[in-house]
Every structure is written in structure tokens, then in C-alpha cells.
């Protein structure tokens, strides 16, 4: 009754092809942005910002990146952890080598470096598909981790192989290092997340995205209609790795402040991000955020309820938490194999008819 197209007239092509054609959607989106930028920074507590929102936003960026590759491009990748490590180590090397350049520039340059590395490891995708490609990217994961462990130059010859983020400021405001106020971390991650989501959205509905989807749906047919598979596949790897690299860079610089390659960027991270994409919904921007929220917020929420609320022993709570999250993943995949994004789509369909279904 309220949520509907009727009466929402478009008079220009531009208005017709906008991201949110429904006025209610649009208003909701602007309201969400306003709350995220103008309200939350002023009310958020340290714990919420640093332990809940910042990891959520960073994982959302990583999931967006992987979603471009897996959901839009149709190429499987298990190298996300390794590419995040490239982003993190690039930031570390850049910021220790050029401390005077703004850290935000370093973050973006780290993303570009990761894009190059991603293109390199994306080359096999021209010859192999599906599971075989997954194994090739798995090799990228292990090779990159091994590299950052083995070559001391990457961690500036520190005794323990750890990289630690020095303090950096942007416009006089500390943005990295231990003295960073929680809301600054949040704002930095939010800005990156929103601008990258905007970029992803516009890429995927333009020529580039259509080429990716054509390759995804049937590569031979796509080639026949004039899509260059080399260009499409490599650009999918590049853009995806760019996003993942920025996520890795923020993960190290803003969120953790110190990282150890095997522990922070191991194969588990690759799987975690892949699960986010699958649970959130392949080929959906909203799905990337939903998947990240599901896998980041749920464990923290369960921990707080089970240990803090019910006073259960921590080990029991940790085990129950694994079981609940696992059971929910199975449940969602059975009930809605297309992920949380599809659930959201269905809800919107139902809302259009509400309260008078046929």
C-alpha cells in the first residue's frame, strides 16, 4: 500500500534508470546514510565502533570485492586472505617508506598494488574454470602467505615477523595507531565502504558489469556477441582485488593496528569472506553487506548474550556459538539458496502487494 511504484512518475531517462527507482527505497537509503554519517559517530561507544562496526564495514568491503569476482564475474577465488595480506603489507611498506604521504593515499595505492597482483593470479582463469580455478587461486593464497612469512623485507626485518602500524594523521586528526578515537576509525571505514559500494554498484550496471555477467552466464555466447574474455576476466580480477586490497589495508591499519600474516590472513579468512558472499547473496551489493553483518555481528552478539547475559562458561558459549552460526548457515542455504539478498528481494515483493495479496 505504501511501498509501491504507482504514482512515482519519471520524466527523464536519468530518473528512470537510477539505482533506487522507488521513492521509498531512495528515502530509506538517504536516511540510512544520514544516520550512518551524522548520528552514529556521535553516539557510538568505543566497544561498538572498534569491535562491531569497523570489522563489519571492512569485511563488507572484502565481500563486495569477492562478490564482483564470484557473483558478477563467475570466477571462483579462494585467495581473498592472500590478497588482503597484499593490501596490508603494501600499506605497511608504503607508510614506513613514505611517512609524509597521507595514509588515505597509501590505502588506495595498496588497493592498486593488490589489483596488479590479482591480475597476475587471475591469468590462469583464461585457461581453467570452476573448481580448477579455485585450486589455482588457493595456490595464490598459500604462496602469498609464504612470501610474507619468508622474506623479511616485507616486515622490515622485525624480530617476530609482525607488522605494526605507526601513528598517522589526516588533516591533523589521528586515524591510525592506538590513540585513534573510535569514531574516527568508524568514519574512515564507513567512507571507504560507502564510496566503494557506490563504485561497485555503478560498475556492475554499466558496460563493464554487463560484460562480467555475460561471461558468468555463458562464456562462449559472450565471446560470440563480442565480449573479450581476457579483458572481462582480468578486469574482474583487478577490480575485485582492488576492493579486497583496500579491505586488507584497512583491516591492518585501522582495525587491528598490528598483524601477523599467517594468523590474520590465513585460509580461514578466504573461506570467511567466501561464506559472506554466499550467505549474503551472489551478485548483490546489498548481499555483501548482509553477509558481512551476518558473520561478523552474530558471533559477537551471541557471545555477549550467552556469556554476558546468561553467565554461561566461556568455552560452552564458544562451542554453542559455533553450532548456532553453523546451523543458521545451513538453514539459510536450505531455505534460501540465493542468500539474504534474495530474502530481502522477496520481502520487498510482498510489501508491494501488502496488505492486499491476490
Amino acid at each position: 500500500m505504501i511501498y509501491r511504484e504507482a504514482g512515482d512518475f519519471k520524466t527523464t531517462y536519468q530518473a528512470d534508470s537510477q539505482t533506487f527507482p522507488l521513492r521509498l527505497d531512495r528515502l530509506g537509503y538517504y536516511a540510512l546514510l544520514a544516520v550512518a554519517f551524522l548520528v552514529i559517530p556521535f553516539v557510538v561507544s568505543d566497544y561498538w565502533a572498534t569491535s562491531v562496526l569497523v570489522p563489519f564495514l571492512i569485511y563488507a568491503i572484502a565481500a563486495l570485492g569477492l562478490n564482483i569476482l564470484v557473483g558478477y564475474g563467475g570466477q571462483v577465488s579462494l585467495g581473498t586472505g592472500g590478497f588482503m595480506a597484499v593490501g596490508a603489507y603494501a600499506t605497511y611498506k608504503l607508510t614506513t617508506a613514505f611517512p609524509d604521504v597521507s595514509i588515505l593515499v597509501h590505502v588506495i595505492v595498496s588497493g592498486l598494488i593488490t589489483a596488479l597482483v590479482g591480475m597476475l593470479f587471475g591469468l590462469p582463469s583464461l585457461r581453467i574454470k570452476g573448481f580448477y580455478l579455485a585450486v589455482a587461486t588457493l595456490a595464490a593464497q598459500f604462496f602469498l602467505i609464504w612470501l610474507f612469512n619468508k622474506v623479511p623485507w616485507f616486515y622490515n626485518y622485525s624480530a617476530s615477523g609482525q607488522i605494526t602500524m605507526p601513528e598517522r594523521t589526516v588533516l591533523g586528526q589521528i586515524v591510525t595507531g592506538p590513540a585513534t578515537p573510535a569514531w574516527v576509525k568508524y568514519i574512515v571505514c564507513l567512507t571507504f565502504a560507502v564510496s566503494l559500494a557506490w563504485l561497485a554498484r555503478n560498475l556492475t550496471r554499466g558496460t563493464v558489469g554487463r560484460k562480467w555477467m555475460a561471461i558468468r552466464d555463458m562464456d562462449i555466447a559472450a565471446e560470440i556477441i563480442g565480449v573479450n574474455p581476457l579483458q572481462a576476466k582480468i578486469s574482474a580480477f583487478a577490480v575485485s582485488s582492488f576492493f579486497v586490497g583496500i579491505a586488507g589495508s584497512l583491516f591492518f591499519a585501522v582495525y587491528l593496528g598490528a598483524a601477523e600474516v599467517g594468523e590474520s590472513f590465513g585460509i580461514n579468512k578466504s573461506f570467511l569472506v567466501l561464506f559472506m558472499v554466499i550467505i549474503g547473496g551472489l551478485g548483490s551489493i546489498f548481499g555483501s553487506f548482509a553477509g558481512a553483518a551476518f558473520l561478523v555481528l552474530l558471533p559477537v552478539f551471541l557471545k555477549n548474550v550467552l556469556v554476558g547475559g546468561f553467565g554461561w562458561p566461556t568455552d560452552l558459549a564458544a562451542h554453542i556459538e559455533l553450532m548456532i552460526v553453523g546451523a543458521l548457515i545451513v538453514f539459510f542455504l536450505i531455505v534460501e539458496p540465493h542468500g539474504l539478498a534474495q530474502l530481502w528481494r522477496l520481502t520487498k515483493e510482498k510489501l508491494r502487494l501488502w496488505p492486499f495479496p491476490h
Partner: protein
């Protein structure tokens, strides 16, 4: 829905917050994951000692000690989440049993002004209190351990390791990499060759490393392992019939859970230790009376007296003594985190004091100062007796080689000072 989530979480956080007057010493435990077998024993020892103080003495200086637990699973992200959530509870001391988490928290505790206590783990150069104001790692650190192990081997070989081959099997993480620098220096000094064999976390898979050991036939194997890696390594060593008495683990590789799976094959395995072993200490009588028999023991006291349990207990003893010292210095039992730091720095646990605590000859005397946050770093060697199923101490306290360690510590802490942009204290 979100609102209900939020209010539930808010309620949960509220309920968990203790009364402000209590002393909060959180237990950053891990009872799940590949390191749970060791972590859970350590956490029990840590909890039980504070329960004993609460039950027997009514806390420290009349203030009850609370040890809220937070599960880290030996994972740095979860550890940071724990730290952030416990920050709101006014924690006095942070003691994560993980070198990875320690590295994460060193910058954070310095900014938040909370003491980080990492007995026998963490960043070695935090021994230098001039650079690391908020970090303490007494009674011993990894470089001490490496040096003590080599000293013990020197002693076994009539003072010379010239031409010997020593292999280091280590957990491929910040923890396992810590001793490498020291061992490299020591190999230069004493003329042995060092082979480094990293084992990727969690460490069940070590076939290739031990194949290499079988091929290279090193005279001695040192191990920096933790969790499931220890048991796997000892089993592999037994499989290739490596002489167990030539296999020495760091103190974290010296628990019952590590050797028992290998059965008789583990007989003769040695490890370092910075605390006494077994239950022949008067404190266990009190523990039995006040904690175990009253059913207040952590996890029903199933691990009481094990080697790793003793180490957890020892950590609690040092923290309790530091809080006591802080109360003495501040003249009030209600101390805050900054006063506890002062207590740590003025810590002086003599042999007589250890005996008074019911732990005679359990640990070395600890005397800390502004410049020395790491104590003397002595350690002993223990050996596993598979038939009696117990550890026996086979050496007296061995002092580390300060001649090698001091310059290394100075160098590493200088790097930290430069990196973090701080001015060294204690002048």
C-alpha cells in the same frame, strides 16, 4: 528486531559490569580451538589462585578479585574484541596467554594506560621498562629461554658446542619466531649450526620437518611449540626414534598433555620451566581446603597440579603480589590500573615471600625496577618420566647469557622507541 538485539546486548553488558570497588583481573582464556588443551589448564590455575585468595583471605587487602573470563581461542581478532569489551569494566591487568595478542595490545595498553603482564611470553624486549612502560614479562622471556637451553647444552658438552648441529622446530608465528635472533647470535658465539624448521599453525602436520631432521641428524632439537603442535612434534620425534633426551622444548612445550599422547615414546623428553613442578607445595593444601573441596575450583579442579596449571597459578601469584604492592604504595585497597603498574614496577618477591605464600622454591625471586620489567630470567630443565607420568626437575636455576641478550634487547626496544615515537624513561 535490531532494537531488540541492541537492547539485549545492552542488558548483557550491564549485567556483566561488576561493582566498581572490586579488583578486576580478567582471564583472557582459550578453552576452544587447537590450543585449548593447554589454554584451559592455564586458565584454571589462574582462576583458582584468585578464588583461593577470595575464599581464604577475602581477596587482596580486603578487596575481592574478580576474574571475568573472555574466550580468545588464541585468535588475535577475538583477543582484541575481548580487550575492548573488558576495557569498560576497569580491568587492572591484561594477561593474554598469546604472543600474537600481546603484540596487538602493546600499543593499545600504552594508550589506555593498563598494565600488560606476559610471564614467559610476548615481546621479549618489553623487558626494557624504559621503552615499554606498561608491559611486564617477568620472570623470564623467550630469549632467556633460548639462552638457558644453549647453556644447559654447553654444560652437557663440557663447555663447547663447536661443530654441533641444533635444529629449531618452531610455530610459524610471532611466538615461534621470537628466539631465532638470539639463537643465531648464540650460534655465532658458540660455533654450532642452527637449522630453522617452521611449522605452520596449528601444527598437526609436521611430517616433512621431521623427515628433514631424520636426514640431517641434528645433535639437538629445540622446540617452540604450543597447543596441538607440541603433542604432534613429540609423537613424530618418537616415530623417527630421535633420542628424547636431546629434544628440549620451551616452557610452553612442557605440559602433561604434550607428552602423554606419545606414551612411553616420550620418556626422557626435556623442557624448560620457570616454575616448580608437582604438588609438593603447601599452597595446594590450602587450595584443596578452600577451593577444591568446596567445589569452587575452575572446571571442578580436574587439572590441579599439572605443569601448565602451575604456570597459570604462578602468573596469578605475581599479579596478586603486584596488586598487594600497589595497595601498599597507594595506601588504599582500591587501586586503579596506574597504581597497579607502579606496584609491578616496585615488585620484590623474595624467596622468603614465596615460602610465605606456600610456594617455597617454586619460582625465582623477582625484583623489578623502572628499567627492568623482566626479572632475572632464570629457568630450570625438567624431564618427563613416562612410567611415573610426571615431570622431574633435573637442573638447578640456570642464568641466561646477559652478554648476548642485553645488546639484542637494547636494539629491539630501540626499534620500538623509534617506531612508536616515545621518549625512553628511567633516566
Amino acid at each position: 528486531m535490531t532494537l531488540r538485539f541492541a537492547s539485549l546486548v545492552a542488558a548483557a553488558v550491564m549485567a556483566a559490569a561488576p561493582a566498581m570497588a572490586d579488583l578486576v583481573v580478567p582471564n583472557y582464556s582459550y578453552r576452544t580451538g587447537p590450543y585449548a588443551a593447554n589454554g584451559t589448564q592455564y586458565a584454571d590455575g589462574f582462576n583458582d589462585y584468585f578464588t583461593l585468595l577470595n575464599e581464604r583471605d577475602g581477596g587482596i587487602g580486603g578487596q575481592k578479585v574478580l576474574t571475568p573470563e573472555c574466550e580468545t581461542a588464541y585468535n588475535t581478532e577475538k583477543g582484541v574484541e575481548c580487550y575492548e569489551s573488558l576495557k569498560g569494566q576497569n580491568q587492572l591487568v591484561v594477561a593474554p596467554l598469546s604472543t600474537g595478542i600481546t603484540y596487538q595490545l602493546i600499543p593499545k595498553v600504552s594508550a589506555d594506560k593498563v598494565t600488560l603482564y606476559t610471564p614467559g611470553l610476548g615481546r621479549t624486549s618489553s623487558k626494557n621498562g624504559a621503552a615499554f612502560e606498561w608491559v611486564f614479562n617477568a620472570p623470564a622471556n623467550y630469549w632467556d629461554g633460548a639462552s638457558v637451553a644453549i647453556k644447559y647444552l654447553l654444560d652437557q658438552n663440557g663447555g663447547s658446542l663447536e661443530g654441533k648441529k641444533i635444529a629449531l622446530v618452531y610455530h610459524n608465528s610471532a611466538y615461534g619466531k621470537e628466539p631465532i635472533r638470539t639463537l643465531q647470535e648464540l650460534s655465532k658465539k658458540h660455533g654450532f649450526t642452527l637449522t630453522e624448521l617452521p611449522v605452520d599453525a596449528p601444527g598437526q602436520e609436521q611430517k616433512s620437518q621431521w623427515l628433514q631432521i631424520r636426514r640431517d641428524k641434528p645433535d639437538y632439537v629445540l622446540m617452540w611449540g604450543w597447543g596441538v603442535m607440541n603433542a604432534a612434534a613429540i609423537q613424530e620425534a618418537a616415530n623417527i626414534r630421535f633420542p628424547m633426551e636431546n629434544f628440549i622444548g620451551i616452557w610452553w612445550s612442557g605440559g602433561e598433555v604434550d607428552v602423554e599422547p606419545a606414551g612411553a615414546g616420550a620418556n626422557g623428553y626435556k623442557s624448560l620451566t620457570f616454575n616448580g613442578v608437582g604438588m609438593d607445595y603447601p599452597v595446594y593444601d590450602d587450595l584443596k581446603k578452600h577451593v577444591i573441596d568446596t567445589g569452587k575450583a575452575s572446571q571442578d579442579g580436574q587439572y590441579v597440579g599439572s605443569a601448565v596449571y602451575s604456570r597459570g597459578l604462578y602468573a596469578a601469584v605475581v599479579i596478586a603480589e603486584a596488586i598487594r604492592k600497589a595497595q601498599e604504595l597507594a595506601g588504599t585497597p582500591e587501586v586503579n590500573a596506574e597504581q597497579v603498574r607502579a606496584g609491578f614496577e616496585a615488585l620484590d618477591i623474595t624467596e622468603a615471600r614465596m615460602a610465605e605464600l606456600g610456594l617455597p622454591d617454586f619460582g625465582q625471586p623477582i625484583k623489578l625496577s623502572c628499567a627492568n620489567h623482566g626479572g632475572d630470567g632464570h629457568a630450570r630443565i625438567q624431564q618427563w618420566d613416562a612410567t611415573a607420568k610426571k615431570w622431574t626437575l633435573i637442573s638447578d636455576w640456570i642464568a641466561p647469557d646477559a652478554e648476548v641478550l642485553d645488546p639484542l634487547i637494547a636494539e629491539d626496544s630501540e626499534a620500538y622507541v623509534k617506531e612508536a615515537g616515545i621518549t625512553p624513561r628511567c633516566n
